[in-house]
């Protein structure tokens, strides 16, 4: 390239034209690249971006489904949804958040201790969001705030529906309670593919009916799409394509519980540890389920403090334990009518066969003395008298004649040693011992052997045999119907919240215990004789308007699991060593409407339990009690229950 060049105008013109043409091609190519990019974004990936755009502009606001009610058999409300009032604050509408919070403390609607946390909470949310700063206001607090309302722009009272149990601790073990959805609940819901139904819910059933019928009660949460801008603020703007998914309300659950009967049963156990289960023997409906002491389920909805929960958990009387389905006790003499029926049905004995009872019993070839509860014995007794007076010697002999296999096999028909499959979870199945059971239960070969002496104690409901009050009530209801074994259940029907349409659940007959009518008559007549002097339960028949068939029982102390220190134990030691008192009954004896089992822990014997059973039967069958010295419980219009404590006599 020379340093001096002559300009070649035509050549330069041609050169420029070439370059311009090349540039035109490059421009065309780059334009195609841009249009190609637009085609990729706007045609090929349109669906993807359209969805992202939709997700941007739309926020989904959950609409919680209304939880179904729990009702008693006559429609009385046991669990409902009530508005709870809370104070909410919108930061951007409050001129001075700090001063407002201080003033709220001054007028006494915000606890001073909460100030720091509330301040943090308010700051952590977006300025246009309504932040709840105080939950569950009392009526007094609402009134206080209302008076000062004008001082608080941007602060308002809002209502949320929360679960409410109008009768407090009454029937709590049957109903269960709701509490905040825990991490493990979320995992379970996820596994069952139910989580999407809980978008707007913070509470879930934890025990009893609330837990077992969670799916029915809860319904399906809905949602509403609202238009939001980039800051997340809701935008008032017309839009046709916003979806609303209406929530589907949960269904009401109708139980077989009769609230007045439930209250009468609870009244009998005030101040005691024990359980009552009453079953309609004709269909298995549970009419009353009591476990004392109980607890108030309402605070669980707002969340218990650690101290509150610890107080419940560590209470020596374990109020959280549902003794009715989880307490395991020896049934004592309450199994005698069933064993007697077995002896007859299996052809081992006859109603007329007698046994002389000197107050003790020896197995042939053994020196071990089995005592009767009455030291001097019952004299010569046949079967009905043996049941009526609860003669232990008679049943020692009968059970050793039957042998453990037949005994165990027969009692299995009455549901012992197996879950009743009641419709709430957590039930224990007790132990119905047998040589096979013993072999599986113990590791040591010497312990695995079944001894004849063990059959003897088995015959009076002691030894390895343990049962739950529910199982005992179930057994009583099989005796009542002369063999019809219905699966016990708390819930009898569902009801649509909207239409009120009832959807009854048919009762489930498990089996019919086969025995001749004559043999049934002997067993039942024995139980009727229990209620006549000198039968062990005669006091509870006095003045009754119907014939009761009953059976008392005492169980050697078998304390339920509890966490107690030695010191606490010491102070109550003597009382807690008393035997448990049992009573089972059904009435009217010829056409039973109700079967009931009562256990009083450390109640010494069955007499006190029999008083409770009588009142329960009265209340359910007659609609009122016939024991005028004890005022019946009253349900106040507020739902609160007024109960005069009773002190059932020891004898």
């Amino acid at each position: 390239m020379g340093t001096v060049s002559i300009k070649d105008h035509w050549g330069e013109q041609r050169l420029f034209e070439q370059r311009a043409v090349a540039a035109a091609f490059v421009i065309a190519a780059l334009t195609l690249v841009l249009i190609g990019r637009l085609v990729v974004l706007q045609i090929l990936r349109y669906d993807y971006y359209a969805e992202l755009s939709q997700g941007n502009r739309v926020r989904v606001e959950p609409l919680p489904a209304q939880r179904g009610l729990i009702l008693d058999r006559k429609g009385l409300v046991l669990a409902e949804n009530r508005p709870a009032f809370q104070i909410e604050l919108v930061r951007e509408r409050v001129p001075d958040v700090e001063a407002t919070l201080k003033r709220l403390i001054e007028i006494g609607v915000l606890p001073l201790d909460d100030l720091d946390e509330t301040r943090k909470l308010v700051k952590s949310r977006r300025s246009f969001e309504s932040v709840p700063i105080r939950l569950r206001l009392t009526d007094v607090e609402i009134a206080r705030f209302a008076v000062h309302r004008f001082e608080f722009p941007g602060v308002d009272i809002a209502t949320r529906l929360t679960r409410f149990y109008p009768h407090g601790e009454h029937a709590v073990h049957a109903l269960g309670y709701v509490a905040a959805i825990s991490e493990s609940d979320v995992k379970k819901l996820e596994k069952d593919k139910l989580l999407s139904k809980y978008a707007g819910t913070s509470l879930i059933g934890k025990l009893g009916i609330e837990a077992s019928y969670e799916e029915v009660l809860h319904g399906v949460d809905g949602s509403r799409q609202i238009l939001v801008n980039a800051a997340g603020r809701s935008v008032q703007r017309e839009s046709k394509d916003l979806d609303v998914l209406d929530p589907i309300a949960g269904r009401d659950v109708i139980t077989g519980i009769d609230l007045p009967t439930q209250l009468v049963a609870e009244q009998g156990l005030i101040g005691r540890r024990g359980a009552v289960v009453a079953i309609d023997p004709n269909n298995g409906d549970v009419v009353a389920m009591v476990s004392t002491p109980g607890f108030d389920p309402n605070p669980f909805g707002r969340g218990l403090t650690t101290a509150e929960y610890a107080a419940l958990r560590d209470n020596i009387d374990v109020p959280l334990l549902n003794r009715a389905i989880r307490g395991e006790y020896p049934p004592g003499s309450t199994v005698k009518p069933a064993i007697a029926l077995g002896g007859l049905t299996l052809g081992i004995t006859t109603p007329q066969r007698t046994k002389s009872c000197p107050g003790y019993f020896y197995l042939p070839g053994s020196g071990h003395r089995f005592r009767d509860w009455r030291p001097h014995g019952h004299g010569v007794v046949e079967m009905e008298t043996a049941i009526a007076q609860s003669c232990d010697v008679y049943f020692y002999e009968l059970s050793s004649m039957m042998g453990v296999d037949k005994l165990s096999g027969w009692l299995a028909h009455f549901g012992l040693g197996q879950p009743t499959n009641i419709d709430i979870s957590g039930e224990r199945k007790g132990i119905l011992p047998s040589p096979a059971w013993k072999k599986a239960r113990f590791k040591n070969a010497a312990d695995q052997v079944w001894f004849p002496g063990e059959t003897v104690s088995f015959g009076i409901g002691q030894g390895y045999l343990v049962v739950t009050p529910l199982q005992v009530a179930h057994m009583a209801s099989i005796l009542a119907t002369r063999g019809k074994s219905y699966e016990p259940r708390l819930v009898t029907a569902f009801r649509d919240q909207g239409t009120g349409k009832l959807d009854p659940i048919p009762p489930k007959l498990i089996e019919t215990v086969e025995a001749s009518p004559e043999n049934w008559k002997v067993a039942v007549d024995g139980m009727i004789k229990v209620m006549k002097a000198p039968g062990t339960g005669w006091r509870s028949q006095v003045g009754a308007q119907f014939q009761i068939a009953g059976k008392t029982g005492t169980a050697q102390v078998f304390t339920v699991k509890q966490h107690e220190s030695y010191k606490e134990m010491e102070s109550r030691l003597s009382e807690r060593l008393y035997d448990h008192g049992w009573f089972i009954a059904f009435a009217p004896a010829e056409a039973p409407k109700l079967a009931v089992a009562v256990i009083i822990e450390n109640g010494k014997h069955g007499t006190a339990a029999a008083v409770i059973a009588r009142r329960v039967l009265d209340q359910f069958i007659l609609g009122h009690t016939t024991t005028p010295d004890i005022p019946p419980p009253v349900v106040a219009p507020s739902g609160e229950v007024v109960v005069a404590p009773t002190a059932p006599g020891d004898e």
Binding site: E12, A23, L34, L38, I43, A230
Partner: protein
């Protein structure tokens, strides 16, 4: 080469009358129509992007009118005058850039504006025109393609303002100045082997700059382009939201005023640098393609005018103005649609912003002057 006046249909006569007026004003009709359509298109989109804010639209129209006045005025200026003042402009521009850099250094942080009290402007904008003018001036009397000594001078003309702009720091404008100058040199017939050599050297320089000179936020922009999802709410937010806007527009768009991305403020900078995403969302592929084709028409016409000019200075400057205009379009549309990193380059004549509107129309005024005064040169 004016068309002779023919006796024909009435419309033909009217057309010719308009042509005569335009000729007297030294303006080019097709180019004027193209620029007018793009500006109008821009005002309509601005109406939607600003949330139906008429003040913004009127403001935009006033700026367009100012640009139009500048265009008409510059169209009257004789190319020879432009050629004479090119070097002077360049020197002034460099001085102002140095002043801006120094005040920026004192004030700490990016400094692009020069505040003269009555007006604030960016010296780097002047350089967008001054650099190609000076390059064309240098090459005007020299044989093409340029020899290596010329190239050395051209390198100084181009790189000094580029470097001064980049250290403001303003990588985007610096790059545009570089491209404007380079285009003159390429149009001047720079051999392709030299072009590729320079490209290789540029790549090496880029690598060097990446490791030693680029600011973190500038590097971040490149990272973000490569993987917008890595920084969803930070630098990646712009790109993600603009791609969502464009993509969700589909073929025919959501309709003017109906784009949720823009109207609900998800799309950042929607009246300025990212207005092309508004076009894509509300008017769809259809509207965006029409806008792009209008740009291609304007660039094509400008390139044609450049070819028609008759001296080196005019050809090179006109060609550079035409191609730079397309470069702006490509960089902005490429950035908004996620092909290029986010750099502050507005969409010509559509993005809301005064300086760019006036500078661009002034450039086209120069281009028209170069074309319409060609007879004088030829004679």
């Amino acid at each position: 080469m004016y068309e002779p006046i023919e006796v024909g249909s009435r419309s033909r006569r009217t057309f010719s009358a308009a042509g005569r007026i335009l000729g007297a004003l030294k303006l080019d009709g097709p180019l004027l129509v193209g620029l007018g359509l793009i500006t109008l298109f821009g005002l309509v989109v601005l109406y939607s992007a600003s949330g139906q804010n008429w003040n913004r639209v009127i403001d935009g129209a006033i700026r367009a009118a100012l640009g139009g006045v500048a265009m008409c005025a510059l169209a009257q200026v004789k190319p020879a005058f432009l050629r004479r003042i090119a070097l002077l402009m360049w020197i002034m521009g460099v001085v102002l850039l140095i002043v801006v850099d120094i005040t920026g250094h004192i004030g700490k942080g990016a400094q692009r504006w020069l505040d003269l009290g009555f007006i604030r402007f960016q010296p780097s904008e002047i350089m967008k025109l001054a650099v190609p003018m000076t390059c064309a001036w240098w090459l005007h009397d020299r044989a093409l393609p340029p020899d290596w000594k010329s190239l050395l001078v051209l390198a100084v003309i181009i790189l000094v303002p580029t470097a001064l702009t980049i250290i403001q720091p303003d990588l985007g404008t610096g790059g545009l100045i570089l491209i404007g100058g380079m285009l003159v040199v390429i149009l001047a017939g720079l051999q392709f082997r030299v072009i590729f050599g320079l490209a290789a050297a540029g790549a090496a320089a880029g690598w060097f700059a990446w490791h030693y000179f680029l600011y973190d936020y500038q590097k971040q922009r490149v990272f973000t382009l490569l993987d917008p999802e890595s920084d969803k709410l930070g630098a990646g937010y712009h790109i993600i939201q603009s791609q969502i806007a464009i993509g969700s527009g589909g073929v025919f768009g959501k309709g003017l005023l109906n784009g949720s991305q823009g109207q609900l403020e998800f799309l950042p900078e929607r009246t300025t640098d990212f207005i092309f995403a508004m076009v894509g969302e509300e008017l769809g592929l259809f509207g965006a393609a029409i806008l792009l084709l209008l740009y291609v028409f304007v660039v094509g016409r400008a390139l044609y005018l450049a070819v028609e000019t008759q001296d080196t200075f005019a050809r090179l400057l006109a060609g550079s103005i035409a191609l730079t205009f397309f470069v702006y379009v490509f960089i902005n549309a490429g950035m908004v649609s996620g092909l290029l990193p986010v750099v502050g380059v507005p969409l010509p004549l559509v993005s809301y912003g005064g300086t760019s509107m006036v500078t661009l129309l002034a450039g086209f005024g120069i281009l028209m002057s170069l074309y319409s005064h060609r007879k004088l040169v030829a004679s």
